[in-house]
């Protein structure tokens, strides 16, 4: 067995080679994250679900994200459940070759928080609030075969000036 044959056996099909050729690509997918959510007193760790779409004409990229997270606490006296939806648009630098592209970007973020506070027998109020802020992230993505793509990212986003949330997530999606 020659070294060349070995290499071709390990590399499998031609999907990777195909993706490297393009100077521009797009990805979109679903991402699962751990959010360190700034509460009035600390950072609460909560899971988050998001979708992303990136258009990457290297060395630039444009990424849009939509993320949803929820935290709740209920006892005999009260219940508080809060949802948070964040939309962000990032202008990014995209570096590296296609098997792994590094994105470093920043942009504006709009976060809508909605909390349902319940107490007593029947009392309840829902409060909804929108906060503008900034979003920055460092992300890696790459192909998984011919049509699929993976992503990994660490990021930060603010709600207003004083509340800063952090996130770490990984996702799977499609590329074209």
């Amino acid at each position: 067995m020659t070294p060349t044959l070995l290499l071709s056996l390990f590399c499998g099909g031609g999907g990777v080679a195909h993706a490297i050729e393009g100077a521009e690509h797009s990805t979109a997918g679903v991402q699962l994250s751990a959010f360190a959510l700034q509460t009035p007193a600390r950072h609460a760790i909560v899971p988050a679900l998001g979708v992303w779409a990136s258009y990457t004409p290297r060395p630039w990229a444009l990424t849009g994200e939509l993320t949803l997270t929820r935290r709740a606490k209920t006892n005999d006296f009260y219940g508080v459940s809060a949802q948070l939806v964040r939309a962000s648009a990032l202008a990014e630098l995209a570096m590296g070759t296609r098997p792994m592209t590094v994105h470093v970007g920043a942009g504006p973020a709009l976060t809508v928080s909605s909390a349902l506070t319940e107490w007593g027998e029947t009392d309840a109020e829902r409060i909804t609030r929108a906060d503008l802020g900034v979003r920055a992230r460092v992300a890696l993505d790459g192909p998984l075969g011919e049509r699929l793509a993976w992503s990994w990212q660490v990021g930060v986003a603010s709600r207003g000036v004083y509340n800063w949330d952090y996130d770490l997530g990984a996702g799977i999606g499609v590329q074209w």
Partner: protein
């Protein structure tokens, strides 16, 4: 330019007329209800005449100082999310309910005791640390509230380890208990920031014995000002040993000379139960005034090594006020402290 404008537009009224808090109602039930907190001038940042709140920060032992004192490095400013709807502040987070309950409880206990002629003013202001980090200290309590004396004069609130129950930090009895420790410090050390004399000595038995009375006194302040003999039941239904209307009786093993790992709560509950006996014979208000007066008298004697002396003084002061209490209260004393010689008042 744009961001600060948006923030300012969203900032809620800093001193709303009413805020949601857990409280004991007239019917004896605990529930969340709108309550005034006049001393809380900034509900968003938890700042007011009773003290300021900080988020995080760290509590550390000053290893290189002469007295190995404890220090608090302040955390950031609190920043609560809420909205005011029909004059009532509604929090968007559990932290708001916990913190407003805390502040409302302090406001209440201040009004209750000052109204009875017990001067609580030397206690205020007292700052609090919400979820601080502990450096070099063995502080493992997952969910609790605490008073840090020893010259620091600070409340610590650790709100959220157990799901589905009322956090101890939002339990009005627990907050009143912690306030009781602060008041005990003022009554015995003379000043909120002073090092207590019984902590300065070399004898751990003295320190531990006073700890027992301190825990008992804190429970007396909580049970008598709430007029609830078992406030723990709200948060920890499984803990039944702190019910002051039950049959707590002192025995030799409850004194630190005879114990290895000392538990101050056992003897503390005996003292608090004796105070509850007095409440059964009089009223909660009358009992709390006498309990404080007895600590004052005991402190004046500096009888740090003899905490049972506090019980004798309570008996003495109560009987001096109302002679008819003599027989039933002497019986209660004998029942709670059976190994103690008969006090002079009962002879």
């Amino acid at each position: 330019m744009f961001l600060p404008l948006v923030m300012f537009a969203c900032s809620p009224d800093p001193s709303p007329a009413l805020l949601l808090a857990v409280d004991r109602d007239e019917d004896g039930e605990y529930r969340v209800a709108p309550r005034p907190i006049p001393e809380l001038t900034d509900a968003q940042h938890m700042e007011g005449a009773l003290g300021h709140g900080y988020r995080g920060g760290r509590i550390a032992i000053e290893l290189f100082s002469a007295d190995m004192g404890i220090r608090y490095d302040e955390g950031g400013r609190m920043d609560l999310d809420y909205d005011v709807i029909d004059d009532v502040a509604i929090p968007m987070d559990e932290d708001g309910l916990v913190l407003w309950t805390y502040y409302h409880t302090l406001s209440q206990v201040r009004a209750d005791l000052n109204g009875l002629g017990v001067d609580t003013e030397p206690v205020w202001p007292i700052d609090f640390a919400y979820q601080p980090a502990f450096v070099g200290m063995d502080f493992t309590s997952g969910e609790n509230a605490a008073y840090l004396g020893s010259g620091v004069h600070l409340f610590i609130l650790l709100p959220d380890a157990l799901p589905a129950v009322l956090p101890l930090a939002a339990n009005p009895g627990v907050i009143r208990h912690e306030f009781g420790h602060a008041l005990f410090n003022v009554l015995t050390a003379g000043d909120a920031y002073a090092q207590a004399p019984y902590d300065a000595g070399d004898d751990p038995n003295v320190t531990n014995k006073v700890r027992a009375l301190n825990e008992g006194f804190a429970d007396m302040i909580a049970t008598l000002t709430l007029d609830d003999n078992d406030f723990f039941d709200l948060s920890l239904p499984s803990v039944t040993t702190r019910d002051v209307a039950a049959d707590a009786v002192a025995d030799a093993t409850m004194y630190p000379e005879n114990a290895e790992a000392y538990d101050p709560y056992a003897l503390g509950t005996v003292y608090a139960s004796f105070a509850w006996d007095l409440r059964e014979l009089t009223s909660a208000d009358q009992a709390v005034v006498l309990v404080v007066a007895a600590v004052d008298a005991w402190s004046a004697e500096a009888a740090w090594d003899d905490t049972d002396r506090w019980a004798e003084l309570l008996l003495e002061l109560s009987v001096a006020e109302d002679e008819s209490l003599k027989t039933p209260l002497c019986a209660a004393f004998a029942a709670r402290l059976p190994e103690h010689p008969t006090p002079e008042t009962c002879a």
